[in-house]
Amino acid sequence: MPVDVEARVIANTRLSPDYNVISLAAPAIAAAAAPGQFVMVKLGHGSTPLLRRPFSVFEVLRTGRTVNGLTLLSKRIGVTTQMLFDAVEGDVVSCLGPLGRPYATIDPPAEAWMVAGGVGLAPFATLAEALCARGTSVTLFYGARTGRELFYLDWFRERGVRLVLATEDGSLGDRGRVTQPLERELQAAAGRDLMVYACGPEPMLAAVARVAATYHRASQVSVERVMGCGLGGCYSCVIPVRQDPTGRHYVRSCIAGPVFAGADVVWE
């Protein structure tokens, strides 16, 4: 059951000229959120922006065992992300959640391979924590335009996550797309039990789903469609999924997703 919280901004850290991490006092949502779930946020009064925007829960903030809030990892591309970038302590962000179908975790000896493109890193902090807590071995394949846009590397290393990096300009890790090292390692991983998790731009998700299928691996991808409501009310966020061997069918990614089996999605 989602709740709507007028969450105070606890902190706002700029990671780069475009990325920031904002901490919000929304403990009720944070405590209930599962990895891959999202919140619908709205800033400001009046009608600019009019609609809420979806953001993955990035981190769950705790003091000891008490949950205090959550963070969002945001990339500045428009009006809401600009406001999230500019927000200061004490500002209020309206936060509705948690929403959507989360990633399904796996247990050892199966391994988790997470593939993140850009701001698609967001769901993997909580997923990594959930998986590590189960003792599952976790690898993060993480791609961005440049090394300066690869964030939280130490955060993942400290939790024992193996990192495989790729940048388009070659400034850190492999030069090129993150699916290249993914495919290379899949080739070498015959016989190991593993699940591929992905989040990032859709063409990346399509490539990950394809590569995973090629190597007969299951994948779970989190898609990013433009959402009007986040609750199944508007039918704006649909994505085509396979219905029978040949058919396809639009489903609402806010309630049937945002996480789908890579093999179920019809990539266009």
Partner: protein, 314 residues
């Protein structure tokens, strides 16, 4: 002072005048965990055809100043699955159900009305003759007085359920459509559906919606919608159900003063799915503050006599 919030549309009594607008509240069941559906005046479910429909490819919505465009294309599960899969839960949740129906032909409207008349738990039919997002049917009726008259008369003969033609604002004289609906036997009219509109990505020079054009809703359109409700109220006798950009109790009250018996809320539900409580409470407060015992006494109370000035020292 207790207030009477009930309103009557044909044989249907609504517990209060606040209805969830079609297409903005799924089939209602999606919101069953968020709001108590029985507290809404009514739930107008997503527009239904006889058959299932896939709708338009994404991108289906885009935000505009104080509004949004949608071109969903009436994706839906069809009337039979609706009756089987959704209606029982709506009944169980004690929702007052208004089924929004769309046809490509007059016969399709009639058949939908017949099928739904036999179903248990349908309170009224809203005839969607105004969806700007589909080529065939629908709006073709809604943009022609004869078409409107014909489809309403035909449905009238097919059902005893209250029928509410939903009018399009994309016409020169909306009041004439309210009159045609009344003459054809409608129990009420609802308006407005969305305004045909478009938005372009100037960098790619492509439409932002896959369907090129879509329907504008939200606060942006409210002043036009209020004017249209005012015109329809003056033109006819049947109740008007008003909508278009309602986002607060004051907005709902504005429509009622202009002439609406009940209101629907669409886009604002996306922004705040808990809006229903605020709306109903806000209307009740207003009535109490103004000493109005029954919400239906608020309808059409616009005072158009010349205004006088008052003087306070500040």
């Amino acid at each position: 002072m207790p207030c009477d919030l009930t309103v009557q549309i044909g044989t249907l009594t609504l517990g209060n005048p606040v209805i969830a607008a079609s297409g903005c509240f799924g089939y209602g069941v999606e919101y069953a965990d968020v709001v108590d559906l029985s507290l809404l005046g009514g739930v107008a479910v997503k527009g239904l055809f006889l058959a299932e429909r896939e709708g338009h490819p994404p991108q289906r919505i885009v935000e505009t100043p104080a509004g949004m465009l949608n071109a969903i294309g009436l994706q839906g599960i069809g009337v039979h699955r609706f009756i089987r899969e959704k209606l029982p839960e709506l009944r169980e949740r004690r929702a007052t159900v208004i089924v929004n129906i769309c046809g490509s032909t007059l016969d399709e409207y009639v058949e939908l009305a017949r099928i739904l008349s036999d179903a248990d738990g349908v309170g009224a039919l809203e005839l969607n003759i105004s969806c700007p997002n589909i080529k065939e049917g629908g709006i073709t009726f809604g943009c022609s007085l004869n078409g409107t008259f014909d489809v309403v008369s035909a449905v009238r003969k097919a059902t005893r359920l209250p029928i509410i033609p939903k009018l399009t604002p994309n016409v020169t004289d909306v009041a004439s459509f309210a009159r045609a609906s009344e003459e054809a036997g409608a129990d009420a009219v609802s308006l407005v559906n969305t305004f045909l509109a478009m938005a372009i990505d100037v960098e790619t020079r492509r439409p932002k919606l896959s369907n090129i054009v879509g329907g504008l809703s939200g606060p942006a359109i409210r002043p036009i919608a209020v004017r249209m409700v005012y015109e329809c109220r003056r033109a006819g006798k049947i109740p008007v159900v008003g909508m278009g950009g309602i986002a607060s109790a004051a907005d709902a009250i504005e429509f009622m003063i202009a002439g609406a018996y009940a209101v629907q809320v669409g886009t604002a539900n996306f922004v705040d799915p808990f809006i229903w409580t605020w709306l109903v409470d806000g209307i009740r407060d207003y009535l109490q503050r103004h000493g109005i015992a029954r919400v239906r006494d608020l309808t059409g109370t616009l005072d158009t006599t010349a205004r006088e000035k008052e003087w306070t020292s500040s």
